[in-house]
């Protein structure tokens, strides 16, 4: 075992080599949640490297989105611990963990559809826009300065996906693929250390999916953040994820790099069922 690795032992993690000398951006220890008597997620332990792209896969109903809801404190876990950038998030509310550096997108798009594209991104910039109430009402110089900065920043973020030309369109009027991209831009605007993408390729055709893969890599390289994604499109998952965790019935049944996952019998069984003897 390499001693320079700071990755905690219980994670038995799959953090890429380049991140292994830094503390993980996100760690979960034995995370679990019960809804009434039903255990939706149990013993979920994972560590994600600073610039890692990792995937969370599993059959429908395995609890993948529940994990995202736990990681963003939309649900408070029944058991276990989450460390975000080395800080415990227990008992924090969603807006507080957002400020600590986690962002996400949704499986069913949840944009502020009545607001403009630019305003959606500027809502994401909420905490980095410094302007007091008084300055806003009286339109003091601070207001114009902060608004100008927010505008520039928002347009710069939109340019990652070449969406500047749609800045003043209503978000709800964008085509489906563009709405998905805008959701990612908006998440990026909160300046996260890790971004969770819930089925980013849902409803996309192969060429759009390919473009999305390129963009996810581009975002990781440009912003130096970690990305964790839930996805059913195996080409995408196997193509960009460095580490993959497979969830079935709320438990992790396998962790590893794409090659290991592809050949793991437990994974094949979860997806395709038991081989008949």
């Amino acid at each position: 075992m390499n001693n320079t690795k700071m990755v905690p032992v219980p994670s038995r993690s799959i953090i890429p080599e380049r991140d292994s000398d830094k503390a993980p951006i996100l760690e979960a220890f034995n995370l679990g949640i019960d809804f009434g008597g039903l255990t939706a997620v149990d013993n979920f332990t994972i560590a994600v490297g600073r610039t890692e792209i990792c995937g969370l896969i599993g059959p429908n109903g395995a609890g993948k989105t529940t994990v995202f809801n736990l990681l963003t404190n939309v649900y408070q876990p029944t058991r276990g611990l989450i460390m975000l950038d080395g800080k415990n998030t227990t008992g924090k509310s969603t807006y507080q963990v957002s400020r600590m550096g986690i962002a996400r997108t949704f499986q069913n798009i949840r944009l502020f559809s009545k607001m403009s594209v630019l305003d959606n991104v500027k809502v994401g910039l909420y905490n980095s826009t410094k302007c007091s109430f008084i300055s806003s009402v009286l339109r003091l110089p601070q207001y114009f300065k902060s608004e100008k900065q927010a505008n520039e920043k928002a347009l710069e973020l939109l340019s990652v996906f070449d969406m500047e030309s749609h800045a003043y369109d209503e978000a709800g009027s964008l085509p489906y693929g563009a709405q998905r991209r805008l959701e990612i831009v908006r998440a990026l605007a909160t300046n996260p250390g890790i971004m969770l993408l819930d089925e980013p390729a849902a409803g996309m055709n192969p060429s759009e999916t390919w473009e999305l893969m390129e963009n996810i890599r581009k975002i990781r390289d440009k912003f130096q953040i970690a990305i964790m994604l839930i996805e059913h499109d195996m080409n995408l998952v196997m193509g960009i994820c460095e580490g993959i965790a497979v969830l079935d019935h709320g438990k992790i049944i396998a962790k590893g790099d794409p090659e290991q996952i592809k050949s793991n019998p437990a994974v094949i069984e979860a997806y395709l069922g038991k081989k008949e003897a």
């Binding site: 807006y95 957002s98 400020r99 996400r104 949840r110 944009l111 909420y126 806003s136 608004e147 998440a187």
Partner: protein, 298 residues
């Protein structure tokens, strides 16, 4: 002709007060889907605050200073009261059913009315006119400064509010929370703070409304807020509740309707007409004039 224009000015004056109050209703409804029936009573408290300053300080200070203090004090009291009510009565019920919230609002409304009755007595107090500068002439027309100032102040308030909600980061946070609280939180927005801010702004507008109301009717009574509040509510529904331009439009429409009915000698009918308008609107355009049809997603 002069009577028509005169009545029109009355309608605008009355309408702008309704509009200011309706804005508070609409903003609060927009953000937490609550019909804040205590909103009208905030105006009553604002009127008493103005009365208190005007009658207690006028022997020490010149009139202008007293009037200025009364205006500031009354707006401040309303703002604090609105935000305070939200913290004490509504915030603990954030995840409760809407109906509990509505009943609480009615409770708060009665509490304020009875509180005022206990402290100030059931009779009306006469509030000295805050804008006591007579009138001016436009051609042959005589326009009172009260009317003119009411209209100007209302229009400025509405313009500032519109710009605030559209252009500032706090306004965007308000719109974001009203559209989707969960997602707004993921953007790092504290929903409780944003909701408090909405109540404070709505109540500040009610404070401005109470000053303007006192200028027009020169009295404060414990129950003055309930009818005013109800009519502003009708205005908000008429314009499309949750919509800022809708509230303004509704306010002016109700003001116009009331003035029209009174000016043809049917003033006993004016309340009936206002509520008849509400019923007709609810039948033919349930979402109001500028309201958006909500499509419930299953």
């Amino acid at each position: 002709m002069t009577t028509v224009i005169g009545q029109l000015i009355n309608a605008l004056q009355l309408g702008s007060i309704y509009a200011l109050v309706a804005l508070g209703y609409s903003m609060v409804y927009g953000i937490i889907s609550l019909l804040n029936f205590a909103h009208g009573d905030i105006i009553m408290v604002g009127a008493y605050a103005a009365w208190f300053i005007m009658t207690s300080l006028n022997s020490f200070l010149p009139f202008g200073a007293v009037a200025a203090i009364a205006v500031v004090f009354s707006i401040l009291i309303c703002t604090l009261l609105g935000a305070g009510i939200e913290k004490v009565a509504y915030a603990p019920l954030r995840s409760a059913p809407r109906l509990s919230l509505l009943i609480t609002a009615i409770g708060v409304s009665y509490f304020l009315e009875n509180m005022a009755q206990m402290i100030f007595g059931a009779g009306a107090k006469s509030v000295p006119n805050i804008i006591s500068i007579g009138s001016f002439h436009v051609g042959k027309m005589t326009v009172s400064w009260t009317s003119a100032i009411t209209l100007i102040v209302s229009v400025i308030s509405m313009a500032v509010l519109t710009v605030f909600v559209k252009k500032t980061k706090m306004g965007k946070a308000m719109r974001a929370v009203s559209e989707d609280v969960g997602t707004a939180q993921l953007m790092g927005i504290n929903p409780n703070k944003t909701i408090s801010l909405t109540f404070a702004i709505g109540s500040a507008l009610a404070g401005i409304g109470s000053i303007l109301y006192c200028c027009a009717y020169a009295q404060a009574s414990p129950t003055m807020g309930s009818m005013l509040g109800l009519k502003a509510f009708v205005a908000a529904v008429l314009g499309g509740i949750g919509s800022i331009p809708g509230a303004v439009l509704g306010g002016f429409a109700i003001g116009l309707a009331e003035t029209l009915v009174s000016s043809v000698g049917l003033s006993v009918w004016k309340d009936a007409i206002v509520f008849a308008i509400l019923i007709i609107v609810l039948i033919f355009k349930p979402a109001g004039i500028l309201g958006k049809k909500k499509i419930e997603k299953v």
